[in-house]
């Protein structure tokens, strides 16, 4: 993927952020009992796997990892035509009584997280839902905040934050780019979602 914007996180910074988040998650839960990780499609899924790998390394426990697609829970039908592809939900564990850590790449408006919570509770009743994100870029439109943040990045609405991960894009980096002209909400385009 060619670099077109200003780099705000390098490979090393992403790696350290994932390791720090993995420690925070275990610390907050006081252990790993009852913990499951759920990545939001698309880039939340490889991030959740990386966090699980890091926890396995320092705790010796492998946490279950699931994938959640929020397409059917979006609040704007007109988004279907732009990005109709459903990437699939796979939650191979019982959510009832578990502590779910939702994982996504970018926290923006909060609408994706709202949709993800609606989707999760259709599968069961978790004891708690927490949120871990690699980037928090602000501009929330809903009362949602992250429990674990890789990097806080002050942005303007005219900017786009692009998270690239090896598993999806062939390279690890985060860059920020200014849109040529003000566009509408870009929710639904992977890597720039709220």
């Amino acid at each position: 993927m060619p670099m077109s914007g200003r780099q705000i996180m390098t490979v090393e910074e992403i790696r350290r952020a994932v390791i720090r988040i993995s420690h925070e998650i275990v610390e907050k839960q006081a252990g790993t009992s009852g913990l499951v990780l759920v990545g939001i499609q698309r880039r939340g899924v490889p991030l959740a796997r990386r966090i699980a790998d890091a926890i396995a390394e320092h705790e010796g426990v492998r946490l279950p990892v699931g994938a959640l697609d929020i397409t059917f829970y979006r609040d704007d039908l007109s988004l279907i035509a732009q990005s109709p592809v459903v990437k699939g939900t796979d939650l191979p564990f019982d959510l009832n009584g578990s502590t779910v850590v939702l994982v996504d790449d970018v926290l923006y408006t909060g609408r994706t997280i709202r949709a993800a919570m609606d989707a999760l509770v259709d599968f069961g009743r978790p004891r708690a839902i927490r949120l871990a994100v690699l980037i928090d870029r602000g501009h929330r439109e809903l009362p949602i905040r992250a429990d674990h943040v890789g990097k806080n990045v002050p942005t303007s609405r005219e900017e786009v934050v692009k998270v690239h991960l090896v598993e999806v894009d062939g390279v690890d980096e985060v860059e920020i780019e200014r849109l040529p002209a003000p566009l509408g909400e870009t929710v639904g385009v992977s890597g720039t979602t709220g």
Binding site: P46, D69, I80, P84, D90, F123
Partner: protein
């Protein structure tokens, strides 16, 4: 274009890790109506198939319902008798949380002489945003689409088209054929081709999928199809197919055999001497099926006349996927309602 899940992956299969970098450009959906499959290009058919995979995953959930079409009004207007298609659309719409209104023309103002266009305007004024329609006259949904502000889904029009059936047939074939593809596979559609909207829609999608398609039946029920077959190489995007009354040649080495209903109500014109004669010469029996591949997939769009076009023991044979067709029908219709719901006004 890039699709992220194996086309016919089982819904229970784990979400695949993206092993190869994919382009960020996702395919878009541009159709406002679904009147036939002939307007869908191959990437769009693939998108319907992968979206159907996702709907199958929804159907397997403890609560098989998602809020995708919450607040949407789906009106089902059927001018012809139907059980499975109507109920299938209704279940599909309800699984997507849509509000469903059912109108059976036999008990509506249609019997008082209301015209089709008037009925369409009326249901739109009553809040219909998506209209699922079945009509005995070929082309009626096209007229409806010209007068309706929302989306029209053709649930079968006359002899012309039954697009959701063709797509669920394709999905079911891919699910049951080794390798998950119909390309190069010998697919036989057997029976009353002449009166069959199922066959006409399937010709488009199966030749687009690269199947070795054979249409087989008494010559009176194949009238005109030889000319279509001869012209098909000159139709853009259309593949070749065979037309024959030689049942043995059609069934030899077949990968898929789909029997069509002999439509008693359309037999008044003396096209068949009798149902018994049809059953004796073209009925799908175990003995005849032995000429096909041992793992042949047996299909029927329903409703069946058992003992006429298909023997009861063939319909219930382990190789028969007739009930899978019904289950997949719900998932395919969910996929289509979902895809069409995002397109307004300017869509085609």
């Amino acid at each position: 274009m890039t699709l992220e899940i194996g086309a016919s992956g089982s819904p229970a299969s784990p979400v695949p890790e993206a092993a190869i970098p994919v382009s960020a450009q996702a395919p878009a959906w541009r159709h406002r109506h679904l009147l036939d499959v002939d307007v869908l290009d191959w990437s769009e058919i693939e998108l319907v198939m992968t979206t159907t995979d996702a709907m199958r995953e929804v159907l397997a959930r403890p609560i098989a319902k998602v809020p995708a079409l919450r607040g949407r009004n789906v009106t089902i207007l059927f001018y012809e008798a139907s059980t499975r298609t109507r109920v299938s659309f209704e279940v599909a719409a309800k699984n997507l949380s849509a509000d469903v209104v059912n109108i059976a023309a036999a008990t509506s103002s249609v019997t008082k002489g209301e015209s089709l266009v008037d009925t369409i305007r009326t249901v739109e004024a009553l809040g219909a945003q998506m209209l699922v329609m079945r009509h005995a006259v070929s082309g009626a949904p096209y007229l409806a689409a010209a007068h309706f502000g929302g989306s029209v889904l053709n649930g079968g029009d006359g002899w012309h088209a039954h697009p959701t059936q063709a797509l669920l047939d394709l999905y079911t074939m891919r699910e049951h054929l080794p390798g998950g593809s119909v390309a190069g596979r010998k697919v036989v559609i057997l029976g009353d081709i002449l009166h069959s909207r199922v066959a006409r829609s399937n010709i488009w999608s199966l030749t687009a999928a690269g199947a070795d398609l054979w249409l087989c039946g008494p010559s009176t029920l194949l009238r005109g199809f030889d000319r279509w077959a001869a012209a098909s190489p000159r139709i853009p995007g259309h593949g070749r197919f065979q037309v024959t009354s030689d049942l043995g040649a059609a069934l030899a080495g077949a990968d898929v055999v789909m029997a069509l209903r002999i439509q008693r109500e359309r037999m008044a014109g003396g096209l068949l001497p009798s149902l018994r004669e049809y059953a004796a010469r073209f009925g799908l029996t175990r003995e005849r099926l032995a000429a096909a591949r041992p793992d042949v997939v047996v299909m029927h769009p329903g409703p069946m006349n058992e003992g006429v076009e298909i023997a009861p023991d063939v319909a219930t044979d382990p190789r028969s996927v007739i009930t899978n067709q019904v289950t997949n029908g719900v998932a395919v219709r969910m996929a289509l309602l979902y895809l069409l719901a995002g397109v307004h006004g300017e869509g085609r």
